[in-house]
Symmetry: C2
Subunit: 207 residues, 2 copies
Amino acid sequence: MGRPATPKLSVDKIAAAALAIVDDRGEFTMGEIARALAVRPSSLYNHLAGRTEVIEAMRARVFAEEPFARPRAPWDEVLRSLLRHYRDAFARHPRLIPMLTAHTVSSPDVMRMYDDIATVLSGAGIPVEGLLDVITVLDSFVIGSALDVAAPDEVWDKTQARTPVLVAAVEAAGQGRARADRAFELGLDLLLTALLTYGERPNLRPR
Amino acid sequence: MGRPATPKLSVDKIAAAALAIVDDRGEFTMGEIARALAVRPSSLYNHLAGRTEVIEAMRARVFAEEPFARPRAPWDEVLRSLLRHYRDAFARHPRLIPMLTAHTVSSPDVMRMYDDIATVLSGAGIPVEGLLDVITVLDSFVIGSALDVAAPDEVWDKTQARTPVLVAAVEAAGQGRARADRAFELGLDLLLTALLTYGERPNLRPR
């Protein structure tokens, strides 16, 4: 009769199992992944060297969950599309975010996105000495915005506000994904408009 | 002889214990807090109604850990100071961040900071209909920047970059807190400069 056929273990299968655990609990161990896949922990190490590689495999998987079509468009539209894709990827897995930001980005597929962003920004006139600072600003905004997508419908309890202006602002803002999307697009507008004139402002050049 | 004197339980003591657990594991339970404080779980409920109130108590505690002196200065300097204080507070507790962003802000002390930000922005000419979107943009940037403070010295593995521009950018960026601080200040510059002209740009008004 032989043993029953079991689906073959792969890096992506390990990443998927780890991701489900992190989505649920905000953490993972190699032992939990092995249990979820009904394999021995030692089997995992035939595919990955350990925890850091699992994290990089999750990073790659999250970006690849939805297809990304790079538009043929001016640089700022290309950048907007890349950043929207990036926010949506992280927004599906808010509990993974602090794990990803605490580890060096080395996944080749994700580095390709940063290659792309660096090329776009460089082509737009951002000097190489300030390029990573600009990427970090965009990165931080995108990551915070991904967490904002996961915010509750009521982000601020207006009954605790003391100023009429904050009460009115909370009432005007609306709720849910539409609220988060509108704020994200405003942030892209503000940042990209400011970047358009980056080179012209001596105080915005790297210090 | 009587019972030995034990330090009195308080909301802030419960928040401190919960924070230590979240810093360590990214999660907490009421049972874990009770064990850490060597009290019965039921004792906690004499001070707090449950999990949500513990999260709000942690939010308040984190903002109060360091004193904040509001400068007497133009609105953009006041806003920068507030946002720096806010980033530093969150940066000390990166694993708390997704927990805070997933819950409605109701802590009166933290709402006072948002009252302050709303008042400053309103005074600077941001209309009330767009005010919460602007606050959300600043919030998202600050939260992402707080996670960036906790990033490893090597944020990007340049051996995985394919473009010379990304390699050169990573090499130019430096490392550690100085790198994170420089990017944060650049982001404040970009966002506040763009906000200064917010009213003049029809495409940046709320849609």
